[in-house]
């Protein structure tokens, strides 16, 4: 007998072992999320996918779906919480969308538009972050890092290299490179690595190709974030099924 839970009153079927977020996306229902990617183990650090279950907040990317459960996601309170989370991410970095080559392809920017962010609300922190252009083919712009650890997980679990880690605490925490000099140019990162491809912002970018996609043809010019994320998960599922 199939199992299901209720997301904002709608019945969502799920398979054993799926999280609330996975089951929702499989059923074409979007729950906002940023640090979660289908290919990677959940990290539960951004808290954007927070939902309410039995009056308590849970990260939907780690919370197992349970039969008969009532999950609340679409409320003014949770929208306000998600906006605050994204606002905090913006003020804790140095994000200059107008001149960023990832503008239009950036998951953080798309998330902000999707949530209707109008301003930063919190005082800008202006952290001092070091840029690293030492790699011949990849730029590392820590100003744009949101410390989601996507590159950390992807390098370790998909590329098998372990190039990245997070060092420091609080506002001084930053992306560190696992190389003798700490420079990206001395690491074994390759421009084709998943760590680069999956970076949600312009922190890790392939050199000399910026702005080659015209306005109107960038990822989020063509399709809303919600559809991109649903399709991304469903494509991943199809691939997994194909590979058995």
């Amino acid at each position: 007998m199939s199992k299901s839970f209720f997301l904002d009153g709608k019945e969502i079927p799920f398979k054993e072992g799926q999280t609330v977020l996975q089951a929702a996306l499989a059923a074409c229902h979007h729950i906002p999320h940023l640090c979660w990617r289908p290919q990677l183990e959940p990290h539960s650090s951004c808290r954007l996918c927070t939902v309410m279950i039995s009056g308590r907040p849970f990260s939907s990317c780690t919370q197992p779906a349970m039969d008969g459960q009532h999950v609340i996601s679409d409320t003014p309170e949770l929208l306000a919480l998600r906006r605050s989370v994204v606002q905090m991410i913006f003020v804790e970095g140095n994000h200059y969308c107008p001149s960023c080559e990832e503008s239009g392809n950036c998951r953080l920017q798309a998330t902000a538009y999707s949530l209707g962010l109008q301003d930063n609300h919190f005082p800008q922190q202006f952290p001092k972050r070091e840029r690293d252009s030492s790699h011949p083919d990849v730029n590392l712009d820590r100003d744009r890092c949101i410390r989601c650890e996507t590159c950390v997980r992807a390098s370790r679990d998909l590329d098998g290299k372990n190039v990245f880690g997070i060092h420091g605490r609080g506002i001084k925490s930053h992306l560190a490179v696992n190389s003798p000099t700490g420079k990206l140019g001395d690491s074994d990162l390759d421009a084709q690595d998943q760590a680069v491809a999956l970076c949600p912002t312009g922190c890790l970018t392939v050199k000399r190709v910026g702005f080659s996609v015209p306005i109107g043809e960038r990822i989020y010019d063509k399709e809303p974030l919600e559809q991109v994320q649903i399709r991304e998960f469903q494509d991943f599922q199809a691939q997994e099924a194909h590979h058995g």
Partner: protein, 498 residues
């Protein structure tokens, strides 16, 4: 005769004992600047200066950024002619990727973008910003002397102005994705092909745009010739002129060699490879302005200053490449009687000739099969230094970048069009102050004379903002001790009060 800068009014001998009048901000120009006048007890003008009070710092904060970001980042210098900065920077980074010559498609599409921008910028300036002074008089009722007044009195003219600007913006949107701050030029070419549907859309109105541009030239010419005594002498002075021309000496806005001519039209230098501009142009710093004062090295900083922009380009060109603009150029140059036309107010007429050229050039490109090509990018032997120069609506624009081996910009130098006209605008201000304000009790109308002279250059003082003549104006009259004696305030709604 050597160009005269009327330096006698640049710095007063005893500024501490003079009354200070400030026009701040200057209205109906792009960005923020102010004019200060120092006058003695008999209202004699002793010092007149145009100050650019903003500090932008783009040359500094572009350092460390990857070079392919430059064309996108530096266009934020300006909200009116970002395409100029976008393309000048792109030309510089073309050199960094070894793209000495673009594909015909890429160069022609970049040109179309540039002509679209020239069209919209010139239409904006002539119809929205300058026409109120020209149609109603320099000291007409301030409540009427704005674009709303023009719409009321000359609705047909105003509507054409708005639609001409809109067409130029549409050219930009079709190519760059957005009317303002789009992205089209990338190192070595452009990022998007031009389609037949794009052509059909833009071709619908181009004949009308050319016709209206021709009418605009006639309007500008008539305004000039109907008030010839005033327009030929108002803020007029002799000067050198700098612009790009084609190898044949013809007018060009996108590329060419540097040509400088003196006040009689004799060549100072010609067909200079613009990548060597530093051998020919230096910049002087003065303590009272954030804007530098460029000059021609061989002439020195006293007499080597020059003018750029529409007047300089029309004066310097041997011919215009399009037929209607060439006819207009000949009529214009007849006023110079064999020499360059030196009148500050002739800028408006020259600007409309350029707008006509831009419209004709777009029309020709829309019929050119090369624009539909799909070969959009070239690369070659990389270099660590690149210079890009073009003719922006307001004049010759220089972008110069040096990068390190890891693609990061380590040095940037920009000489923005308006900067080239710094001495010229100050000279115009001093000429007008000496002729019209000296010995007079200041009124709003008299002070507007100073702004009229500055406006003729269409300065982009910060390359950022403008407010259609609705910006508040506050003029303060202070005694020798600095105490406030009198003030005249214009509110945002145009109302005057003391």
């Amino acid at each position: 005769m050597t160009p005269t800068a009327n330096l006698s009014l640049e710095t007063a001998r005893n500024p501490e004992s003079l009354r200070r009048t400030v026009i701040e901000p200057i209205t109906r120009v792009e960005g923020h600047g102010k004019v200060t006048l120092l006058m003695d007890e008999e209202n004699r003008v002793k010092q007149a200066r145009l100050h650019i009070v903003e500090f932008r710092g783009f040359e500094k904060f572009i350092q460390g950024r990857p070079y392919w970001e430059a064309p996108v980042m530096v266009q934020r210098l300006c909200g009116i002619c970002p395409v100029s900065h976008h393309l000048a920077a792109a030309k510089a980074v073309d050199m960094l990727v070894g793209a000495r010559r673009l594909t015909p498609t890429a160069e022609k599409l970049r040109r179309m973008l540039h002509y679209g921008q020239t069209l919209q910028s010139h239409a904006l300036h002539f119809f929205h910003l300058a026409s109120p002074d020209l149609l109603f008089g320099f000291d007409a009722d301030v409540a009427r002397r704005n674009i709303i007044g023009v719409i009321g009195a000359h609705p047909d003219l105003a509507v054409k102005g708005v639609k001409l600007r809109k067409y130029g913006q549409e050219v930009i949107r079709v190519l760059a994705g957005k009317r303002v701050h789009g992205i089209f030029a990338i190192p070595g070419g452009v990022n998007k092909a031009f389609t037949k549907a794009d052509r059909d859309y833009l071709a619908q109105d181009i004949a009308q745009v050319v016709a209206w541009s021709l009418e605009a030239v006639d309007v500008a010419r008539k305004l000039y010739e109907d008030n010839l005594d005033l327009h030929a002498s108002f803020g007029a002075f002799r000067s050198n002129y700098l612009s790009l021309t084609t190898p044949e000496g013809a007018f060009d806005l996108y590329d060419g060699g540097l040509r400088a001519r003196d006040d009689k039209g004799a060549t100072i230098f010609d067909h200079v490879d613009y990548t060597h501009y530093l051998r020919y142009i230096h910049e002087e710093v003065k303590s009272w302005s954030y804007m530098k004062f460029p000059f021609i090295v061989s002439l020195g900083n006293d007499t080597g200053w020059y003018r750029v922009g529409p007047l300089a380009r029309i004066n310097n060109a041997d011919r215009m490449p399009t037929p209607l603009a060439e006819g207009a150029r000949k009529a214009f140059m007849a006023h110079g009687k064999g020499e360059p036309v030196h009148a500050t107010m002739a800028y408006h007429w020259a600007r409309m000739i350029e707008m006509l050229y831009a419209a004709e050039a777009i029309q020709a490109l829309l019929e050119d099969p090369d624009v539909f090509g799909t070969d959009l990018l070239v690369k070659g032997e990389p270099a660590l230094e690149g210079v890009g120069v073009l003719e922006a609506p307001r004049g010759t624009l220089f972008h110069h970048y040096r990068i390190d081996e890891r693609d990061a910009i380590v040095k940037a130098n920009l000489i923005v069009s308006t900067t080239n006209n710094n001495t010229a605008m100050n000279t115009a201000v001093r000429e007008v102050a000496a002729k019209y304000l000296d010995g007079k009790t200041l009124t709003e109308g008299l002070l507007n004379h100073l702004e009229v002279a500055i406006r003729a250059y269409d300065p982009c003082l910060s390359c950022a903002t403008h407010a259609l003549g609705r910006m508040p104006l506050q003029v303060e009259l202070r005694d020798a001790e600095g105490a406030l004696v009198d003030q005249l305030i214009k509110d945002a709604d145009g109302a005057l009060r003391r």
